[in-house]
């Protein structure tokens, strides 16, 4: 499957425009997020899961970004979804890609996004007792945390 075929398949299935610069990326609505992941894995052959993260766009809400690769045909595809202002729930990619498990836990830890259907959603880098989600733009980098400062 070439890059053009991938683009065409995505456009016909999801009815959205596929950006090609600076990288091939597709943005869908949050309710089709898991479907997009499944389509990428099963139909597009993007079986290699690279990473999943989120971006805090302040008042425009959070965006979830994931990258998957087709290692046989050398295609990198960026999957994106905008959760909208104030929304902190998203469907999980863990049933599709097992690698999303830790990445989504990190996302929950850093952004407070609750991934539905995630088997084991708890903090991964910070302790369970930590307050706040550090990578949100509203969180100051030097927020004090007792008792060690």
């Amino acid at each position: 499957m070439t890059a053009d075929e991938t683009r065409a398949a995505l456009a016909s299935t999801f009815g959205v425009e596929v950006a090609s610069a600076p990288m091939m990326s597709v943005t869908v609505s949050p309710d089709r997020w898991e479907e997009l992941g499944r389509f990428a894995q099963e139909s597009l052959g993007c079986r290699f899961f690279s990473f999943l993260t989120a971006v805090d766009w302040k008042e425009q809400g959070l965006e979830v970004v994931a990258q998957v690769n087709n290692v046989d045909d050398n295609i990198a595809l960026m999957l994106k979804t905008r959760l909208g202002p104030g929304v902190t729930t998203c469907s999980s990619l863990t049933p599709v890609y097992r690698g999303a498990n830790w990445m989504e836990r990190e996302c929950f830890d850093m952004f407070g996004i609750r991934f539905e259907n995630h088997p084991d959603l708890r903090r991964i880098l910070l302790e369970d007792t930590w307050e706040g989600h550090p990578l949100l733009k509203s969180y100051a980098v030097d927020t004090p945390h007792p008792p060690y400062r």
């Binding site: 302790e127 550090p134 030097d142 945390h145 400062r149």
Partner: protein, 212 residues
Amino acid sequence: MALDPPVPVVPAPIWRNFKDLQEWEQLHKTRPEGDKHSALFESITEGIHSFPGGFVVTTAADAFLNWARKSSVWPVTFGLACCAIEMMATFCSRFDVERLGMVPWASPRHSDLMIVSGTVTIKMAPMLLRIYDQMPDPKWAVSMGSCANSGGPFRHGYHVVKGVDRVIPVDVYVPGCPPPPESLLNGLLLLQDQIAHFKKTGRKAPPNPKVD
């Protein structure tokens, strides 16, 4: 009739009555009846020291004990971050700290020195304190690298402890990011000098102006 094979009968571990290991350690730390042996030893040394001419014996004993201590400082292999790689290099082929009598040892229970090599985070600080508590007295700590000294380049981070001296007492600070093995070696030599000026058993001397 059927014969049952003998079942091994082992005594119940006493610590199973404890909620967790911390409670068990707490018992050992508090010692309700007091530390009898150390107190006895200390009173004997005090007695000899105050006896006319007795100070010769105690200072000679101090000198001998300090020589023994400084020649066998065993650091616990406690690597935290980048500096741990340089610490490993210091223990290895080229720099070879073992010639100073320092053998990296994997158990804190048998070690005298903790080289805090790297960034101490808020999640790691209780573990670090616990490992330090597990080491027997007399014990020393060397803070290696900017992160352990003050937080270093990560000082402004939300998850970083701004210096390991907020968690445990530190004897020698080694600057650098990361300090090269020569630096750490110098720090360890300073520590040995400091140990050589210890007074009496188990008590730390005030900092020596010559080495600080």
